[in-house]
Every structure is written in C-alpha cells, then in structure tokens.
Amino acid sequence: MTDTPVLPPMSLLAELTHRCPLQCPYCSNPLALDGREGELATEDWLRVLDQAAELGVLQVHFSGGEPMARRDLPQLVRHAASLGLYSNLITSGVLLTEATLAQLAGAGLDHVQLSFQDVDTVPAETMGGMPGAQAKKLAAARLIVAEGMPLTTNFVIHRGNVGRIGRMLDLAVDLGARRAEIAHTQYYGWGLVNRAALMPSRAQLEEATRAVDEARTRLAGKLAIDYVTPDYYADQPKPCMGGWGRRFVNVSPTGHVLPCHAAETIKSVPIPDIRTDSLGAIWADAPLFRLFRGTDWMPEPCRGCDQREQDWGGCRCQALALLGDAAATDPVCTRSPDHARISKILADLPETPPPLVYRRYGNAPG
C-alpha cells in the first residue's frame, strides 16, 4: 500500500447535513443519520474548503440531505468561489425560492443538480414522502433556468418508475435543463434496505436502456444524458469512485472524511475526522484511505486481472455489505467466486414489491 502514488483528489463531496424534507427510500445516506446537533460549524466547512483547494480539488459538490437546510450555504458557496473551486449544488429543490437562488447565484454558484422522484406527481410524492414536493420542484427548475443557471435534472430509477424514462427526459427538455441523469438506484444504505422493493427486472433494465438510447437520438443537441445502470446486472463491477482514495473525497455532516459516502460501514480502521486532522494529511496517510488505494490490497482474481486498473476491484462497500468482507472482489464481477450470490438475489426478487422503508431518523431497521 505504501508504494501507491497518491494523486490529489479532483472532487469534494460536502455532505452538509443529513436533514431533508424528503424521505426517499433509495437515499444514499447511511442508515445512521447524523443529527443537527453534531453538524460541523460554518468555520469548519470554510476550513475544509481552504484545505480542499490547496490539495488540488477542482469541484465541490454541496450535498446532503438537503444542503439548502443549512443557512450558511451562500457563505460556503461564496468562499468556494473565492478559492476558484467550481461549485455544484445537489438539491431536492423544495426549499428553493427566487430569493435563495439569487443569493446563491450572487455568491458564485456554478451549477445546480435538481432531483426528481418521477415525472408524475402521485408516484413522485409517494416515493419522496412529501406531499406538494413535485410542484415545488417544477417551480424550482423554472426559477433556476430563468436565472440562467445551468441545470441538470436527476431521476433515480427503480422498478416502479422505469417505464417512464422517455417522459422524464421530455420533462427535462421542457424545463430547459442542459443535462439529465437517469441513475438507477445504487444499493447501499437505504437503497439496500429497500432492494426488493426497488430493483428492476432484467427485462425492465433492458427497456430502460432502450428508452435512454432512443432519447439520446431524439434529443441530440438539446440534452446531454448521463445513464447509470444497476451494477447487479453487469458482468464487470463499476470503477467505484474512480478508485479508492484516487479522485473523490467525501466529508460527512459531522466531519468524517471518507473515500465514498458509504465508507462509514467499514469498521476495521478508525474513521478520520476533519476536526482533528487536515484534509491533506487524511487523504495521504489515514489508514481508511490507504486501505484499498491502488492495487496492492487486491485478492485474486482481481490481482491478476487485466481490468484491475479499469474497475479498481469494484466497490468495497458492496463487498462488505453482501459478503461481510470489504477486501473481497466485488461479487457483481462474474469472475468473483461469490458471484452466485448476486444471481440468487436477482432470481429471488418478489413479484409483488414489499412495503417501502422510508428514510427518516429512527426508521432504520435493526
């Protein structure tokens, strides 16, 4: 591990808070949600931004929870802009008004990614668990576009909305978005809890992929479309985070510094903390970041695989969640000795989806 060269990170995911008015059952936040009382202070975040820029971070993604629940967001955006950091706001839009948007734009915000749960109101609000959210989101999108801010719309896909992808992309164009993300649920945290209720069938996935391909042709020149598939149906694992401790650094609401947003599930090493160490020292030296950086940690079949520097062994948190061993080959890979686990999960998906477990404080199972 010590021989792996440490490149500076490109992106900081700043998870400002876990508070959110929505309760999406596929939320990527951990099951143990941080409460407001433990959140970093404004000064802490200003210091994180200073250290990120110094380290070589180019883009900061303000996320959550709902980052607009933090009153100091405009101050943080302004500071990021002063450091030359490209700032992206990842928001549900339900707290966005003309006044708050003007504040953020004036502070130098570069881009907004706005989430939608669906194209139709009823299923959207069933998934988000917040009555009235869809109208607020549509209004937010119109305000963002009217202001001139570049907008990406994000739609998370699951078995219940997979048939509406074409219409979701039409909505993105109608709203004036430049980009759209069609992102299948990733099965970590709340998404993993709700896997049986959310995972599409293989036929649904194929239909989704066709819908995206069709829209890419139909909407060429109007809308750029990013498409993220559920890796359970892949033959090779995804290059999770572009490699462990290689491009991304994540800071949680309480100041935990993580190679990815699910990495707090790894309990074998201490979780580094921005309140006690600098981002640069953590990135270079913290055991959590060194644990799976590069290829030296890899077991077979990864170690001898010609894809090892393409997929970096896949996802460590998935190996941990599904096999109980974060250092195992991602079972999504067909070369994994445990790949049958994935096939079985998919074969055992129920005809009728079980009830959703909504993402809210105190609602995690177990």
Partner: protein, 97 residues
C-alpha cells in the same frame, strides 16, 4: 450527443463560454482544465491557447489572427484547428457561438 454532425462555426461569430463552464489553471497539477457541470477535463496546450483568447467579445477571426502571428504559422492551418476545436467544444456544451 455524438450522433449529431458538428455544425460549422463562422469566422465572424463571437464565441463565449456557456454559463457554468470556464477555463481555469489548475495550480496543483500545473495544467489548464475546462470546468463544466459535474466534470472537469484537461485542456491540452493547443486548446488552452485557443480558449485563453475566448473573451466573449473577440470574433473567431481575431483569435485565428493572433495565433497565426504568435506561432508564425500559415493562417489556413491555424484556422482549421481553431474552427474544429470551437465546433467540438460547442458540441460538448462548453462554448456557444
């Protein structure tokens, strides 16, 4: 987006960065990068020379003139490179004519 033919760019058009995109010097890695929504990509030295002249007021013809003089190169050669790069970056939602 790759399926659409790249539209030609006229020499008299004035190009500018789309809102949300910019050229930026990456001090830590000593390289020029194009910052764009949810991604940053490296501008090679030729692209950086061109993009540093994109100021939202200068027509493409003036950018070509400056580079032809700076590199003492035949104008048609420079013009070809500049127009191609601008068209490609317009296609990728970085520049707009």
């Amino acid at each position: 987006m790759t399926d659409t033919p790249t539209p030609p760019v006229a020499e008299d058009s004035v190009v500018r960065f789309l809102r949300g995109t910019r050229l930026q010097h990456d001090r830590v890695r000593d390289q020029w990068v194009i910052q764009a929504p949810e991604r940053a990509f490296i501008a090679d030295p030729v692209a950086a020379e061109i993009l540093r002249l994109v100021d939202g007021t200068r027509p493409v013809a003036a950018i070509i003139d400056i580079l032809a003089e700076r590199f003492a190169a035949p104008r048609p050669v420079i013009a070809h490179d500049v127009l191609e790069m601008i068209a490609s970056l317009a296609q990728r939602q970085v520049l707009t004519a």
